[in-house]
Every structure is written in structure tokens, then in C-alpha cells.
């Protein structure tokens, strides 16, 4: 054995810890490694304020002049970009439905349609995949012909009333996940900021509501209105912008935490659908504004049910579906909720007019069922050419 080797070892020993300490060090190091392994779990998601899930974009509404519109999702999986949203029109109560989806833009992200009456419509294509702004299409002849409008240089919010059409080509668009509202002129060729969640919360009515998100927009005459989810109970977050100042314009909902699901002009008044939540249980409340006051319906309890669609019909009639097979309608202010028979398979939404209808749309087939004495009766079937695989 060579001496230098021994010397080096002696030297090393002198300058290092005792063997036992080194062994203990190694043990601690390995233990740390193991503890790191044992303790590693996916980080819990950060605690976020509870924002109620927005209802899907599936909806129907009656436009002034007697036309009914429904917006439904068809095709296949949204994950594979094989879902395609369609717009259907029933021009009058005696006509059948027909597909009038505007062309030229992939609509996998969803469609939001706003009517300003007289056959005038604006459709917003919610951007999907790599598109980040919102193309708009407009029609003045009940969807027979569409032309491009806008665009809106932001992502339209996912809400059935995220777009509102007013007089003289004015538009309101809720954008950026319901945090901003933009006011558009000349069918969206110019846009300016109307409100944000923070700017609303800086006003007395916004502070009282504690706005958590913008959920609907409407015009009352030429007055822009926005609706919101309120964090503070007792307020229905409906605000009107008169002469540049926001005023509370919603009904008193006495102690309940409320989101506004839908808000639309109806004649000289307004119709709103409210969702009041208490814990995990929810109720739907209809609200009608006419003659300077609000009328509220009795609450329709849907419990923890998953809201499927909303429907606004003529004469202030309202309807909702939930849990895929349940539905209820109310004929107007002062009336009672009427539970519907179990909805047909793949029911998308209700359509309210002279009859109560259920639209069942999936794959390439659109089916219209009408409520008859014996239950739902198939009234019309439309085959829609779905461009599967075209958005990939």
C-alpha cells in the first residue's frame, strides 16, 4: 500500500466529519428525497371566488314582428372542433323552421344572436381555436342574406345576451369573459369602452351589488343596459347608462344572491331571467319591467340541477330547461310556472310562441317537437349539412 495514499486519506479524514455523521448526513439526504416524493401531490388549485356556471348559449327568443329564433349546437364533439352552432328561424307561427346560419366563419365557439326588430339581426361568432377576435354578421331580412359587420376586436363573452342590438346600428358586446362591455357604432365598425367590472364597482350601484361579472346586455330604447352577477345578496345587477352615469335598474330581490341569466327588451319594457342561489341550490325567477316597476315571478326551484337553456317568447313568456329532461314555462308576468312533460331525447331548448315546442338538435338532425295533449309530438325534421372535420 503506498504511503501517499494513506496520507491523503488521513488528511481527508481530518477535514471531514466523522463517519457516523457522514452516514447520518447521507441518511438525511435520502430521507429528504423520499419525503419530497411522498409529499408530492398536485398543487391544489387556488381558491377562487365562486362564480356560478354560465348557462350554455343554447337559447330561443321571439323577435318583434312574430319571428322566432333558436340557436343550437349540432354536430359532434366540441373537443374535436366538430361541434357546429346553427341558427334556425321560424318567420311566423304558421311557418316551419329553417336553417339560416350565417356563412363564412367557423362557429365552433358558439353563436350569439341579437335582434333589433324588423327582421334586423346581428350575429357574433365567439372565437375558437386561434381566432381571438369576434367576427360579426348582420342581416336585415330575417337571415335570408347575411353580410359581414364589425369586427369586434375582442372575444365575445359566453352568454346568450352577450350581444345586444339597438337603434341606429348601435351594439353592446360583453367581452373578455364578461369583464368588459363595449359600445359599438354603425354595426360594429367603431367600438368604445362602455363599462368594466371595475368601473361599475366604482359607482354607487356597482358597489352595492359588488359586481363579479357581466352577464347580459340590452338596449331599453336607446339606453344601454348591462346585467351582472352580484356578489352581495339582495341585488339584481341590472344597470342603465343614462347620460354617462350608471344607475341601478334591477328589481329588489330581498336577501338572495342573484345572477342575471338573460335580459332583453320587450315592447316598451324589459324581461329578465334571474338565478337566485343559496348554497348549492338554485331557483329561476322571471322578472318583467313595465310601467316603471318590476314584477317578479315565484321562484322555480331547480336545486343543484344543471341549467340547459333559456327561452324568451312573445308576451313576456319565459322558459328554462335543466338536467336535460326537465323543463318549465311561464306564460308571462303574474302567471304560474308550468312544469313540462319529460323532454324528448337530446332536447336542446324550448321555443315559445303560439305553441310550446322543444328543439332537439344533435348530429346532423334538427327535430321540432310540439306539446300536444298526449305529450311531445314530432312536428318537423331538418337535415343539416355539418362540415365535420373542417375546423381541425
Amino acid at each position: 500500500m503506498s504511503t501517499p495514499t494513506r496520507k491523503r486519506r488521513t488528511s481527508a479524514r481530518r477535514h471531514s466529519a466523522a463517519p457516523g455523521v457522514r452516514t447520518a448526513g447521507a441518511i438525511i439526504a435520502v430521507a429528504c428525497l423520499l419525503v419530497a416524493g411522498c409529499g408530492s401531490k398536485p398543487a391544489p388549485s387556488a381558491s377562487l371566488p365562486a362564480v356560478p356556471a354560465a348557462p350554455p348559449l343554447t337559447t330561443s327568443f321571439a323577435a318583434p314582428g312574430g319571428a322566432s329564433w333558436t340557436i343550437v349546437e349540432m354536430g359532434g364533439s366540441a373537443t374535436d372542433e366538430n361541434n357546429f352552432w346553427q341558427v334556425f328561424l321560424r318567420p311566423t307561427a304558421t311557418d316551419g323552421w329553417r336553417e339560416v346560419t350565417p356563412r363564412g366563419v367557423a362557429d365552433n365557439g358558439g353563436l350569439v344572436v341579437a335582434s333589433s326588430g324588423g327582421g334586423s339581426l346581428v350575429t357574433g361568432f365567439r372565437p375558437s381555436q386561434l381566432l381571438t377576435y369576434t367576427p360579426l354578421a348582420t342581416s336585415t331580412d330575417n337571415g335570408a342574406n347575411w353580410s359581414s359587420a364589425g369586427p369586434l376586436n375582442a372575444s365575445l363573452a359566453s352568454a346568450t345576451d352577450a350581444l345586444a342590438a339597438g337603434p341606429n346600428g348601435q351594439l353592446i358586446a360583453l367581452t373578455t369573459g364578461g369583464t368588459k362591455a363595449e359600445l359599438g357604432q354603425r354595426l360594429g365598425t367603431a367600438w368604445s369602452r362602455l363599462a368594466t367590472v371595475s368601473s361599475l364597482n366604482a359607482t354607487p350601484p356597482g358597489r352595492a351589488c359588488q359586481v363579479t361579472g357581466l352577464t347580459a346586455a340590452a338596449f331599453s330604447g336607446d339606453t344601454p343596459m348591462v346585467a351582472a352577477s352580484c356578489g352581495r345578496p339582495g341585488h339584481a345587477g341590472i344597470f342603465a347608462d343614462t347620460a354617462g352615469t350608471w344607475h341601478a335598474a334591477g328589481p329588489d330581490v330581498s336577501g338572495q344572491t342573484v345572477d342575471v341569466l338573460a335580459l332583453t327588451a320587450s315592447g316598451s319594457g324589459l324581461v329578465a331571467l334571474l338565478r337566485a342561489t343559496a348554497g348549492t341550490s338554485a331557483s329561476i325567477i322571471g322578472a318583467w319591467y313595465s310601467g316603471g316597476r318590476w314584477t317578479l315571478s315565484s321562484p322555480l326551484r331547480i336545486g343543484a340541477g344543471k341549467l340547459g337553456s333559456t327561452a324568451l317568447g312573445p308576451g313576456g313568456s319565459i322558459g328554462v330547461t335543466w338536467n336535460a329532461v326537465k323543463g318549465a314555462i311561464m306564460a308571462g308576468p303574474g302567471k304560474a310556472w308550468q312544469a313540462l312533460p319529460a323532454l324528448p331525447k337530446r332536447a336542446s331548448t324550448l321555443a315559445l310562441g303560439s305553441q310550446v315546442e322543444v328543439i332537439a338538435a344533435s348530429g346532423q338532425t334538427f327535430r321540432d317537437y310540439q306539446l300536444a295533449s298526449g305529450g311531445w309530438s314530432l312536428a318537423q325534421t331538418i337535415h343539416v349539412q355539418i362540415p365535420y372535420g373542417s375546423s381541425g
Binding site: T23, I27, G104, L111
Partner: protein, 626 residues
Amino acid sequence: MNSGLNDNNPTLVAAFRAALLHQGIYVLLIFAILAVAWVSAREWLRPARAARSVAPEPAWRQLLRVGFGVIWIFDGLLQAQPAMAAGLPSQVIEPTAASSPTWVQHVVNWAGTTWSYHPIQAGASAVWIQLGIGVWLIAAPRGFWSRLAGLASVGWGLVVWVFGEAFGGIFAPGLTWLFGAPGAALFYCAAGALVALPERTWHSARLGRAVLSVMGLFFIGMAVLQAWPGRGFWQGTLHGQQGTLTSMVSSMAGVPQPVILEDWVRGFASLTAAHGFAVNLFAVIALAAIGASLLSAGLPEVGLRAPAPWLLKATVIAMVVLCLADWVLVEDLGFFGGLGTDPNSMIPMALVVVAGYLALSPAPAVATEPAVVPEPATPGPAAAAAKPGPVPRRSWQAQPARLARSFGAASTGAVVAVWAVAIVLLGAAPMALAQTNHTASPIIAQAIDGDSAPMDTKAPAFTLTDQNGKQVSLASLRGKVVLLTFLDPVCVSDCPQIAQEFRGTDQVLGAKSRNVELVAIVANPLYRSLAYTRAFDAQERLTKVPNWLYLTGSLAQLQQAWKNYAVAAEIVPGGGMIAHSDVAYVIDPSGYTRNELDFDPGPGTASSESSFSVELTNAAERFVRS
């Protein structure tokens, strides 16, 4: 992270094979040169091999060196699988990191992106580096170069452990010894570190005791983890669902493999499903017992009595048997199914433990290696140098003749080790060069769309309106290379990707972009206003690209341009996007179309976008007037 291409994309597979073949020729060439030089030096210079004191390499070190050398070579061969170049990020790196925390995924993602930018260079590099390290370990039994081989194993092992194995999954839930925790490559590192230890550590049993103690602690930790409730290992099946272990084994049984192995693994999966508790109990007890026994090897270090030798021997045998059983029945030999990159952790782990056990025995005493003095066969110019004399000093500053004599005096192993180092460098160099290039290899674009079609025709004229409202004609762009494409401003997939490829082209061109005009013509008959071209430019961050033109016009003008350039732009019913062609043309400064590139952007990954930019840049640069 990945290129998004099919693993077996024929273009990539062919390019990978070609790269391996080319580099393989270099490897053989280097070997031939070294061999000729060595034989020549021995023959002509007749170098004397000095007598020196050497300690025989201890058995534990030999086991680690040769054992891990063989494993590295095996891993290198696995890396040469045809699908590895495109498949490693998507089939190996991404799934491994998927259940790990976000920060681990970020780290791993960096490596995956690097690989996907240069799949051929990266794939070939991994092959040669691993083969080289393996050969190096086996060929260099002692001395500086042998220790350096150990360090190379540590270095590359760490790269594999961090980026390829996502830290061996130690930060992911479901960590278990049975499935290879804490990652095979960590044992490669451990073995490399032991090989790299200086010779003075060979002559004491303390190293063996330390290795066994650490491994003992590791086994105990794994036993605790295995026994931890709520992780699903105690149940073979629960409420009709497979328990964690059953699920893992069943998934292994389903991968392509020899029938006999599949039968064994399936049988064990059935046993686990039926007796999950008993199987896990056995695993926990076995791990704990082995751990405790191995840990006891370190008792003399803290002044306590060493365990009986037979106990350690029996423990090591039991550990090896357990590792082999797990390797076959649970890990399924580690490399079957998908893109196997290594035989998993059981063999490396067993080698480290056995080496630790062997290291308990003191190394043999230092022996003197006799001097070798060759008899000169024929007198020659080197005869004088061959005379026995003073021991030649090893010095890097040696004169060329002395260096040549030293080379001639080297052993076969040393020469092979030099060759192995050359293999490692041959593998590492292209990857290092690729790293300095922040753009992806054009091979990805070629793999997606094939080669461009050369043309030589007068480019059809057009006069349209740019995003600023100015009239632009093709004639007005004369003198510049025009890269022309057709984009739908409201397209949700391909067009934004192509726009980014054009934007990337501008960046890659650098100063040359002054002589290149990037031109897109609207490919949507309905959404073609200036407001939409501007919205698209803003979306794609093209507003600040000075040589970008997005042209539109009346429907008639656009239709004429589409017709002239054979571009389809059809309205699709039912909510579909406009169906249009993905194509790019290269128009030279004199107004001739010189190339047509199929420009379907494919998966639209960062690497594919960058690759198309490079392809476009290369196409443009051929016609740029200096």
C-alpha cells in the same frame, strides 16, 4: 412540446436512418484511423511500457463499469429505433411528465421543445452519446480516463433523469418502487459517481458499507411509501375498479411483447387483482426487510457491531431475486410497448447493491505491472526510442514524438476508450451546434408537406389594396423576392399558423428581409374588408412587420387572383370555415414564380411553425439579390 408529427413519419424516419448511417461511417472511420495509427506507432516506434505500481481494479468497480457500460450500449441501441426521432417527446417525455407538478413539466417541456426543433440531430446524438459512454466505460478499466467515463455517465444520466424521466417521477403521485422509482437514470448517475471515485477509496470496506446503508434507507423509504394507505396499492380491485398495482400491471400486459412474457404479466395481474392485499403486504415486508438488513451494513460506521456476513449475502441474493421478479412481472422488462428507451430500474438497482456488497471486501494489494520492452524486429528510426530507460512521463506538453510513443504504448483498451470519447463527441457536437440555432430544422416542414415544386413561369399580375388602404400591384414589388400566400382573416386554425410562419420568416431573414416582401391575399369571399385584414394583423402581431402586406379587394378582384394562382376559396355551409388552399409561392425579383410550396401547417406546434419559416427563408434566400 413535440413536433406533432406521426412517430413513423417516413421523411423523418429516413432522415434519422441517414443521419445514423453517416455518423456511423464517421465512427468507423475514426476507429480505422486510430487503429492504423496505434498499430503503426507500436510497429515503428517500439515504445516501452513503463513498469508502474497498479492496484487491481476491485470486483465491485468492474461490475459497475462493465454492467453499466453494457446497459448504456443497450440504451443507445434502443435510441436508434426508427420512431425515436419524432416519437421521444410525445411517447416518452410528455407522458412521463404528465402527472408531475407544473414546474417539472416546464423543465421537461424545455427539453422536449429542443428535441422537437431538431429531431434528427437530437435522436442521433442520444444514440451516439449513449453508445460512446457504454464503450468508454467498458474499455477504460482504470485511471483518469476511466474516472472521466464515470463522470460522463453521471452527466448524461442526470440529463436523462431530469428531462427524459421527469426527475424519475419522484414529484408525481403514485410513486412506487415496483414501477421503477426513483428512475433508472438515477442509478446510472450513482454508478457513474462510484466509478469516478479515486483509487484511494478502493481499499476500504467503508464505501461498500455506505452504499448498502444508503440503499437500505432507500428500500425502507420505498416500503413506507408502498404501505402508505390511500394510495390504492392495498386493493387488488375496489368497487369493481382495478387497484393501483393491478391497473399498472394490467396496462403492461396489454403492450406488444412476446407471448410468454405477456402470459406471465397477465397472470401476475390476475393474482394482484384477486389478492391485492397479500401481494402488497409481501412487497412491503420484502422491501422493509431488505432495507433494514442493508442499512445494518453501516452499523460499524457508528461504532456498532457489523451484521453477520451470511445475513448480508442472503439479503443481497433476496434483493436480486426480488428485482428480477419485479423486472419481469411488473416492469415487463422495461422496454416493451411503445418506445422503450431503457430496461427500467431493476437491473441498475441490483447492480448497485451487488457492487456495494462486493465493496465490503477489501481490494487486493497494489501489484507492480512489469515493464514491457519490445524486442526490435528490425532496426529502424524508432529503435533508439524503444530502448528501455527512464519511465516516460505522461505530459500533455510532450513533444510530438514522445506523444506518439505514448500513444503506441497505450493498451488496446485505452485506444478503444479514445475511440469511445470520439463517439461521444461526435454525438454531442451536432446537438450542441443545433442548440445554438434557435430555429427548427426544415426537415419537419418537409415531413409534413413534402418538398417544394420548382416553377419558372411569369407570376400572374394583381392590383389589390393593402391593410393601410393603399393600392399594391405585383409589378410594384419588382426587385424584391415576394413570398405570396392566401389567408382567410377569420380562419380559426391554419391561417393564423401560416401568418406566424411568415412572421417567423421575417425574423429569420434578418437584414435580408429588406429585399423580401411577405404578401398575403384574402381568401374569404365574405369577410374581406380592411377592418378584417387589420383585425387579423393585430391578432397575429403583424402590424409592426414592415414588409408585410395583407391585400384585399372587390370580390371580382379576389376571385381573379384566386383563379390565377389556382387557389380555392369555397363557402362551406353549416357553420364551417371557408375551404381554401394552403399554399405559398416564391416569386423572384423579376416577377417569375420559382417555387410552389404546399403550406398546410400541419400540427401547428412551435417546432413545425419554426420549421416552415426556415423552409420559406431558404426558398427566399436563393433569389435575394445581394
